[in-house]
Assembly symmetry: C2
Amino acid sequence: MATPHVVGILGGMGPAAGADFVRLFVQACGEHLRRQGLPVSDQAYPEHWLAQVPVPDRSMALDRPHSGGHQPLEPMLQAMGRLAALGATTVAVACNTAHAWHSQLQARFPQVEVLHVAQEVARSLAARGVGRVGLLATQGTYRTGLYDQALREAGLQCCIPDAPGRERLMQGIYQGVKAGNLALARQCFSEVARALADQHGVSTLVLGCTEIPLGLDATAGLDGMALVDPAALLARALAEKAYAAGG
Amino acid sequence: MATPHVVGILGGMGPAAGADFVRLFVQACGEHLRRQGLPVSDQAYPEHWLAQVPVPDRSMALDRPHSGGHQPLEPMLQAMGRLAALGATTVAVACNTAHAWHSQLQARFPQVEVLHVAQEVARSLAARGVGRVGLLATQGTYRTGLYDQALREAGLQCCIPDAPGRERLMQGIYQGVKAGNLALARQCFSEVARALADQHGVSTLVLGCTEIPLGLDATAGLDGMALVDPAALLARALAEKAYAAGG
């Protein structure tokens, strides 16, 4: 086997999601090795670096773009530069909302491929023949239309919660997952998920914020719903890039 | 609050354990913030970097030190240098066996504090008034006496499995956890743990290899045994260093 490529993970948004992304990536690498019939040993994994850096709140920055407050782009560019210097040929950003700055990150580092989470999700769902999905995400992600656009381009329809539902999701993310209150998170997320399923008749839910899967799982009483974790699909895409030939 | 120090995690030994160590570190940081009554937000976490680099097998290198095969020290030194260049003031090594090279890593990078997992475990157990513990670890860790020495210096007695038990642990680590067969891992680890408890009358078990907690948990039928995960104690020590004043 050729030496895999070095890859990077831009995290810290939040740190628990970044840690979980590494777990998903390592799992995806193991699955890749087993699919290829290769031995799974410590040395068979690609070299990878996780940057967990403090980045100003992404949703707030998108909410008040001209407030003059701290903006997320600069620390993300700095961490990207360091990942590139460490030899990363592909980087995944472990935060959905941060993809609002994807084109700026990609433009500044043309030598690095910056994966796009919504494009990976759209590609995967289209391949499975899914036509309509519900999206659970932050206000920032809804506002940027991150998933709308990628899903539409892949021929899928994207349904979103009403305004109180979107507020309730933010509560689950901030007062729930980020503050360590997983019971509150589970309550907020499952309530909005059920309402979305009832109103729009969707049976596939995209958990479009890395904090949401940490507080919503198969135990949430969402019988018959397919829960799509974009982080898992992004991690799999990063693993495939690491093991890709050439470069 | 002052900006926390940048810290580093030297992982890849194995990658699943490295990923889990970041999870434990993030959890320890959240606990620190809550204990201090500080708000828990993405921006309150210390900047931290995880290096997951391919490192030749540590146990094998300790088993055959003069075989001329690939040695673990060089790639560990290289990754340490990169973590130091990223600004890390303290580094934790997410592998027990790799601590056989702790003094070399520390000597080469005097400006960085390299934490020592066995010393953190010994300190913590002594503070809890524990007198005798059983140690589950790799052959490499047994051979180096890593925990023996640190525990003895802290006034604790360290009991280890017999030779077939030590072989069975290696099977659980390599054919079990590292190869993704958790059922086998659980079987090997719990069998050796029970034998150790029966033979030596210990009620505290140190899980002295980062792969062991991934395959041994409270469901393993070890009623009344206290399972000590050195990675959790090391992660807590790293969090305390990151938030320490001065520097």
